[in-house]
Amino acid sequence: MPAGHGLRSRTRDLFARPFRKKGYIPLTTYLRTYKIGDYVDVKVNGAVHKGMPHKFYHGRTGRVWNVTKRAIGVEINKQVNGRIIRKRIHVRVEHVQPSRCTEEFRLRKAKNDQLKADAKARGEVISTKRQPLGPKPGFMVGGATIETVTPIPYDVVNDLKGGY
């Protein structure tokens, strides 16, 4: 009889704990706090059976919209047919990690604020926009010898020696 399409179907490897990381999970997962609006990654921990999201959401990143006693509400985009729906799921904290997707942005924001404050103190006007990498500068190729290659005329006798 065919295999079913149950809730946890095809998750044998997906929900498996990594090599030599079985057993009790480290306590920082329980000590982290999440606020509404934070970005979080959903990564299922197969050792905890309660509050598991569906396998679709494993590896997705979303925003926190609700915080309850032991779980977090996360809003994740899901493409259904032609449109993208904002799905709201509740996930226990063991299956959630803080996302680093905005880390670079936040650091850059802080640095830019600092730069702007410094420039204001000096009285300059600076642009903190990121510039894309331009074309590479020109350079002289060093140590090159010139070898002229010309085609040789077709020699029927020699080439047909192999067979025809």
């Binding site: 009790y24 329980y30 000590l31 309850t68 032991r70």
Partner: protein
């Protein structure tokens, strides 16, 4: 024989072996209990959840109020039974009565730190009955959860003596009277008189009296410190009453004036840090390069 023994642990075994957490290997932390004690409701965000930790060594009792954080556990206040000589108790520092005193000392200390000590006096006269703090009008009592560690929680365990001390001191610790000394399993009731006896060291006093009559030599050997300090079996209750009063009067911490232990000479070289090793490598390479450059110049000439 002698020489080769068949290896028990192959390299395959070692490669696949998953070590338990360090504190579990050391047998010091029960992670199942720890997870449940530390887990704070997420909708309480950063509100700390305090544990009332009681640990016994062979000669000392440690009572601490600890909250957990990712950097490490933070101790809010601590009390040790080796501080009790300051309040007049010099012997029997690991018995049920000393545990009570240590719990009481910790409770009064914490309440003083939090500014709650006027509002929550607790149970000034230790009667052995079950006492729970009544919440006052304005500020709620200081709440902590008992953390026994790896101890077997039998009725009459000294851990619960410390718990009783903290409760009478004015802390709000959820508990049941089932494990206090003097709980009768048949009646399913706490015999407050027996518990009171234990709090004031009555069980030790009885043993002292018993030995003094029946086996004087053993009495001399066993209670030699008591004899030296001149403590008789009848004095025990009065002694502990005085200690409790002294604790309530001044629970503040006194910094010890001991010198830090002297540093000993190292007989083996100290391990270098990563930066130091990289720096020494760069130095060696520079020397090699400059040495090689000199050699090349010499060869060319």
């Amino acid at each position: 024989m002698g020489g080769f023994v068949k290896t028990q642990k192959t390299s395959a075994y070692s490669k696949r072996f998953q070590v338990k957490f360090k504190r579990r290997r050391a047998g010091k932390t029960d992670y199942r209990a720890r997870i449940r004690l530390i887990n704070q409701d997420k909708n309480k965000y950063n509100t700390p959840k305090y544990r009332f930790v009681v640990r016994f060594t062979n000669k000392d009792i440690t009572a601490q109020i600890i909250s957990a954080s990712i950097a490490g556990d933070m101790v809010l206040a601590s009390a040790y039974s080796h501080e009790l000589p300051r309040y007049g108790l010099e012997v029997g520092l690991t018995n049920y009565a000393a545990a009570y005193c240590t719990g009481l000392l910790l409770a009064r200390r914490v309440l003083k730190i939090r500014g709650l000590d006027q509002e929550y006096e607790g149970n000034v006269e230790a009667t052995g009955e079950d006492f729970s703090v009544e919440p006052a009008d304005e500020r709620r009592p200081f709440r902590a959860l008992l953390d026994v560690g790896l101890v077997r929680t039998t009725t009459g365990n000294r851990v619960f003596g410390a718990l009783k001390g903290a409760l009478d001191g004015g802390l709000d610790i959820p508990h049941s009277e089932k494990r206090f000394a003097g709980f009768k399993k048949d009646d399913k009731q706490l015999d407050a008189d027996i518990h009171r006896k234990y709090i004031y060291g009555g069980h030790v006093a009885d043993y002292m009296k018993n030995l003094a009559e029946e086996e004087p030599e053993k009495y001399q050997a066993h209670f030699s410190e008591y004899i030296k300090k001149g403590i008789e079996a009848e004095d025990m209750e009065a002694l502990y009453k005085k200690v409790h009063a002294a604790i309530r009067a001044d629970p503040s911490v006194v910094k010890s004036t001991k010198q830090p232990p002297m540093e000993h000479k190292r007989y083996n070289p100290k391990k270098l840090t990563y930066e130091q090793r990289k720096a020494s490598l760069v130095e060696r390479l520079n020397q090699l390069n400059s040495g090689a450059a000199d050699d090349d110049d010499e060869d060319d000439e």
